[in-house]
Subunit: 354 residues, 2 copies
């Protein structure tokens, strides 16, 4: 899922996203709640109508952004009190209000509010946050059900009665806590389950172990969503471990910083070595950028500070991610997934290419 | 002609431009000469190949930007000595080198170097600059012919042997000087002629008078290009006076500042009154932006500082300009141009709409 924080995937248009084959995008509840406001969006008919995007949207709960505010937030069992990064105004997000906001936004998939913690964290802190996340998940699910059973009486302007709500498994890197979290969350019962609290600095092999152990405990038929991951090789490895859905800001954010992905690894387009390079970023790539533009031109646009650099680089990186997922799906269909995985391990490196 | 200063029309892709029906764009010699350099572009096969744009390109001479450098340039009969706005390095642009650079860029239409002056200017200063521009035009034409007669011997890497070169009529707002300039420039002989030195702050009716008087003296069969104009009503009025070609940064620059054009006049999308407005910027407009997005969404993108705001606003404004020119051409074909002109006068206002 390309990330469309504030109702737009940065530096590309919806037309670009449809061309790229994006089937779903992510919106950030924290940002949209503060500006333009979920009330305004609901009155416009919901986020789909407001932003003119008719494919699925997943919204996060807003929790992750609030926990990132550090000294501008205070967490209690009630919820998270925080000050807006825009104007310093005081707000309170609870498991209930996070569900209400997302029903007003009318996303197709809503996430429950969970407590994110700084990592690495010891087992006691991780347990406390995990247990609070379960209590919050219960409240979020109850409020969400209550609203959908009688939207008229809820005071909430529900713009998508077909919304699904996903639970989130926490527990850090502690297998016993992950197991407890998975069991309790499945017991509450959600349309599907996400694995949270990863991609926060732990080494890849640790992440893969936690994903493997957690995914194995989730219902076979419900999609599994690994939140906030990851690098291209993470996609391949985590699909192997049973993950279906990913979101990550890296393809779009790195594009704006001049980092383009290739099958062999990232390429930093600002390097002087590309000043007269007539090749496209990735000669094997079929995206609009690679079919029309050279590294020399893309470097020029980047160095000159042209906005088009961000657009063309983003188109390429999103294509790379979405194409990787497409190749994975095809390989699974044709029984050649292990071969693709091996190939990826042999050719893709996280280190910059020269 | 949309303006593509540094080898890109700001905030849109070539794909957007082709969708919009842009048949020609403008590139700035001053900017491209400094970065990435006309030598690099020539080695890449010329500006078309470098930037991946296969429709016509007009390049200016670089003069206008240099004259805008104020205390960073010194003009003599030889040419213009200036310091780069990028790194302060010293450069010299002459009528000959401006022709050479543009042949290396390989644009389809090159402009001669002319002397631009601060306005309003008295008749003596205007005469001196006009006369120097004629001397420069003679040298520019001679060097340009010489190179094209024997590119191999010129030391210039000509990337477009089919280039046309346009002369420029100067003379400020003084009819006698305009006449002298026109006669001398036509005597040198160019593929076509431009009217320079306007849209520099004079009132519209003064500009129209000069355009009328100058255009009347130009050859019937050569296209006339009014440089750096203008507002939408200028297009209609100046076509009536005999102008064929225009370039202007307003549609793109104003778009980035949140000003959208409508048939009734400009609309400032940042205004709070549009926060919940479900209408497109111009309900009568057929552009991608108006077909898909509301004023409320565009205002949100602008206020949030999303790059997509610039893209969507630029698409709209360029459509407005190109559509205006298209409607003018159709009206001329069908004999209804005077009716269109009258309609434009009655409905279009330069004042912001509410």
């Amino acid at each position: 899922m390309p990330v469309g924080t504030r109702g737009a995937v940065k530096s590309v248009t919806h037309r670009d996203l449809v061309d790229l084959g994006a089937e779903i995008i992510l919106g950030n509840t924290y940002h949209l709640y503060l500006r333009p406001g979920d009330g305004l969006i609901a009155r416009a008919g919901g986020l789909h109508r407001f932003m003119g995007w008719d494919r699925p949207i997943l919204t996060d709960s807003g929790g992750y952004q609030i926990f990132s505010l550090a000294d501008r937030r205070r967490i209690s069992d009630d919820g998270a009190e925080f000050r807006s990064h825009l104007d310093g105004s005081l707000h309170m997000l609870t498991p209930e209000s996070a569900a209400e906001i997302q029903l007003q936004l009318g996303s197709d998939i809503a996430m429950v509010l969970d407590e994110c913690i700084a990592t690495p964290a010891d087992q006691d802190i991780t347990r406390m946050a995990m247990e609070r996340s379960i209590r919050w998940a219960r409240r979020a699910r109850a409020r969400w059900r209550q609203i959908l059973e009688d939207p008229g009486a809820s005071g909430v302007l529900v713009t998508n009665t077909g919304q699904a709500q996903f639970g989130i498994i926490q527990g850090g890197t502690h297998p016993a806590l992950r197991t407890e979290s998975a069991q309790a969350t499945i017991e509450i019962g959600f349309e599907a389950y996400a694995i949270g609290g990863l991609s926060v600095g732990e080494p890849p092999n640790v992440m893969y172990e936690v994903v493997a152990q957690t995914a194995a405990q989730l219902p076979d038929l419900a999609p599994r969503y690994l939140m906030g991951s990851g690098l291209p090789d993470d996609l391949v490895e985590c699909v192997a471990l049973g993950v279906d859905l990913f979101d990550c800001v890296l393809p779009t954010r790195n594009a704006r910083n001049g980092q383009l992905l290739t099958r062999h690894g990232p390429l930093s387009i600002k390097n002087a070595q590309y000043a007269e390079d007539p090749l496209p970023p990735d000669p094997e790539c079929g995206c609009y950028t690679c079919r029309h533009f050279s590294r020399a031109y893309l470097r020029h646009l980047y160095v000159a500070g042209e906005m088009t650099a961000a657009t063309l680089n983003t188109v390429h990186n999103l294509y790379f991610y979405l194409d990787t997922m497409k190749r994975i799906r095809e390989a699974i269909t044709f029984g050649s997934f292990e071969q693709l995985r091996l190939e990826f391990r042999q050719t893709f490196s996280r280190r910059p290419q020269h």
